[in-house]
Symmetry: C2
Subunit: 345 residues, 2 copies
């Protein structure tokens, strides 16, 4: 019984229940048109035998793999961890499984790696995280293979390709407004890398908020960054040792904001008394550092759940039914998380 490989098959269930395997299949797939008593009888046997349909057989016969792929680049990023968590849970609820693949955005054999995964596994859908979701090569490979995709926070929406995001522009505007409302006027901004879409969006929100207060972004207070701790620290070092120090710094992600905290600390500046600092992401570390960081929380797990649903439902749905393009692009609500790294000046 418990030996490897000797598991019950659909034939065993059918025999035991006194029906054909087709009927067992119907019950298992929740197909309509099965008498309730028949259904109950089958289910009882399924339970007794602890029968579970074998995925490889279903996949081979039915053309669906019940596998969702998650493609990501930086495994240490808090964003990816939350995406994965949300996605595995929703997959389990829907009877799917999550296969993960870590890819380098600039790997020479990127195309091949994707082809290999797609052709071997035939996942029913693929979730792409930044910056892979903005990589034309990746998108082309997936499109050609016919694999349905959902893009998480892509740079720009692509017609016909579903996406889930928050409104980065608005969120950045809001957190800038928070600083402005605290009386800050000399607000520095540390940008993200130009190959990540969120970078431009967050800067845009920052600039918009300033202009609404009749302020212009000061070029001397704008520094480039690359979403890493070190780049944030270095940018902050420049900003804080300049002639006219800013009273607040908006680092466009949390990792860089942590770098700002470290630089301030080293320069003997007290946060938030001498300097207010805000980040973006609400990473795990944001709540753990001292002082805890004011930031923007993306509902990443919820975004991932939504992505899985779009893939699975879209797979089930009547393909002929036209989908409203607007329904393909979801924008979920973000949340301002005000902690102790900001203070009125």
């Amino acid at each position: 019984m418990s030996a490897r490989g000797s598991n019950p098959t659909i034939v065993d269930v059918a025999r035991e229940a006194g029906v054909s395997i087709k009927t067992v299949s119907r019950v298992l797939n929740h197909e309509p048109g099965v008498h309730e008593s028949t259904r109950d009888a089958v289910l009882k046997v399924v339970e007794a035998l602890r029968y579970r349909p074998k995925q490889s057989a279903r996949s081979l016969a039915g053309g669906r793999s019940f596998l969702i792929g998650l493609l990501y680049y930086d495994p240490s990023a808090a964003f990816v961890g939350s995406v994965q968590q949300g996605a595995t849970v929703r997959c389990r609820e829907l009877g799917y499984h999550l296969v993960v693949e870590s890819l380098h955005n600039d790997a020479p054999d990127l195309r091949q790696q994707i082809d290999r995964m797609v052709m071997a596994l035939r996942p029913d859908g693929m979730i792409l995280t930044p910056p892979l979701c903005d990589n034309p090569e990746v998108l082309a490979a997936l499109r050609e293979s016919g694999t349905p995709c959902v893009l998480m926070s892509p740079e720009r929406d692509i017609h016909g390709v579903p996406s889930v995001r928050i409104d980065d522009v608005h969120a950045a505007e809001e957190i800038t407004n928070l600083l402005l409302s605290l009386g800050h006027r000399r607000i520095a901004f540390i940008k993200g890398p130009s190959d990540q879409s969120a970078s431009a969006a967050r800067y845009e929100g920052f600039a918009t908020a300033l202009r609404a207060h009749d302020l212009e972004p000061d070029p001397e207070l704008i520094q480039p960054g690359s979403f890493t701790f070190a780049s944030g620290r270095d940018a902050a070092h420049k900003l804080l040792s300049g002639r006219q120090r800013p009273t607040a710094v908006f680092a466009s992600n949390d990792d860089m904001a942590l770098g700002v905290l470290a630089a301030a600390h080293r320069l003997g500046l007290n946060v938030p008394n001498d300097l207010s600092v805000v980040g973006f992401d609400d990473s795990a570390a944001a709540a753990l550092v001292w002082p805890p960081l004011t930031t923007v929380r993306q509902p990443v797990a919820e975004m991932a759940r939504a992505a899985v649903e779009m893939l699975v439902i879209g797979n089930r749905a009547d393909q002929s039914a036209p989908v409203d393009e607007r329904d393909r692009h979801m924008v979920l609500a973000h949340e301002l998380v005000v902690r102790d790294s900001t203070r009125a000046r």
Copy 2:
């Protein structure tokens, strides 16, 4: 050509190469006994058609799924992220794929969730991370299903079940020795949760090092913790507001050490001048906080690679060949990472 589902099959390759499908299969599986010219011809067609065998068909016919499962509990833990990274890379190199599943260690339907995954996917092997690798229910479910497992840093080795770990006792001893060599004598210790095996091992190493210096662990300087930031902060608060403050704190993981840093900061204590702090894990945050944390690095990615290899090679190997029990339990080398949170007193 590029439409979904119209991919080439082994029959197409065989026809094009002028051989039987069996020969194509032999070439693809690196089976011996194929003439070189035949092999080359087949490979050429495979390349031209961009043929990849379909996993579900291989799995159904051959009984191997080319899937490795990763079971984990806390997705935010740095440990899990590194395990996953190391495992996906090695899987790809070996032609396997990684399926991830997040489980609650105390979920009432844990058994069912595992059964579902195992019966549906039939993974060729499973990697278990703490605390799941110490959960008898999990181990029993997997044993009964006949799924080969590798335990990552389990509490204790189980005969016949491969494991990979570092020597927690030794590592804790070494980092304690570092503090002792810096002149610290009043060293506090914050324990991990009792359901995680590393907790006891690290404490043992700590106590052993003290005793080697003719010191006895002082009960007043030993605090319980749960491997979380908050528990470390609270434990440190008690330790540091006591009558006789310790001059150093050994938090048995990094998350708790970050809590110690926060507590010290709040109490106006300068680390490392007033207090030395060490952690364990070398989490991503350990290098990012101020001051950067002295800690122990586990070669987690390497451990994960080794785990994948044991699973894949073990699967291939001649089952009749007896495996030396000692070869089943790998102990990889850790590394002391000395940063700025420690100073001589």
